[in-house]
């Protein structure tokens, strides 16, 4: 399911706590699309995110694969 890019959902995003998040101001990747940085996979916490649960998201590493569709 697509995740709308709203501040309401962005406020619940866990990307900022993720060990794999590259250093950049972008986050909320499941809504805003993938990072253009190289992703060092040190674990993915998308599964713990309320946004993931509410929108029935199944994938990991949205920072690499891009926005949910």
């Amino acid at each position: 399911m697509m995740v709308p890019d709203t501040f309401e959902d962005a406020a619940r995003c866990v990307c900022g706590r993720c060990p794999s998040k590259p250093e950049e101001m972008k986050g909320f990747y499941c809504a805003r699309g993938e990072s253009t940085k190289d992703i060092m996979k040190r674990g993915c916490i998308c599964g713990e995110c309320d946004v993931q649960i509410d929108y029935d998201l199944m994938t990991e590493y949205y920072c690499e694969v891009g926005a949910a569709v």
Partner: protein, 165 residues
């Protein structure tokens, strides 16, 4: 505008920029364990602040608070309606993602700042006492409650500390 008024404006901009650059350089020096170098950057930064404020005062850039709020609103409005939207488009066209997000993050905060100043201009002495939070990563500004994650940059709440004046 006379040459000297233009020079004052240029000097104010330059001194203001030097202040912020030196504070960033001081932090970098501290990270490299160079405390005495950092101190010199902070000393110069403090001095540049005095210069900048002196230039601004001589320019007539500091008025009463009602007028200062109007100036502040105008600046914030210009940034989020004209300056940053153009900069964001340009950064996109050039494929500079980091610049695009740096501009976009600032743009979102400027909208909040304009509203904050507009309410201040409206209420003045009757403003309610508020608590503010500023995201350390992107500068997004929150009144009375910080979200679990910064809505702009996803930084966690721990990186959105209460602003202490």
């Amino acid at each position: 505008m006379s040459d000297t008024m233009k020079n004052l404006a240029d000097a104010f901009a330059g001194e203001s920029q030097a202040n912020r650059s030196y504070l960033a350089f001081a932090k970098a020096a501290e990270d490299e364990g160079l405390a005495e170098v950092a101190k010199r950057f902070r000393v110069a930064a403090a001095s540049e602040t005095v210069h900048a404020l002196n230039h601004l005062k001589v320019m007539g850039g500091i008025k009463d608070t009602a007028a200062n709020l109007v100036a502040a609103m105008g600046g914030e409005n210009h940034e989020h309606t004209s300056m940053y939207p153009g900069f964001i488009e340009q950064a996109k066209a050039e494929g500079n993602e980091d610049a695009k997000f740096s501009f976009w993050a600032a743009n979102e905060a400027e909208k909040v700042h304009e509203k904050m100043f507009a309410l201040a201009a409206d209420k003045m002495a009757d403003l309610p006492e508020s608590t503010f939070y500023v995201c350390e990563v992107c500068g997004m500004t929150y009144e009375n409650d910080a979200p679990d994650a910064c809505v702009v940059c996803s930084a966690p709440k721990s990186q959105i500390p209460e602003f202490v004046a």
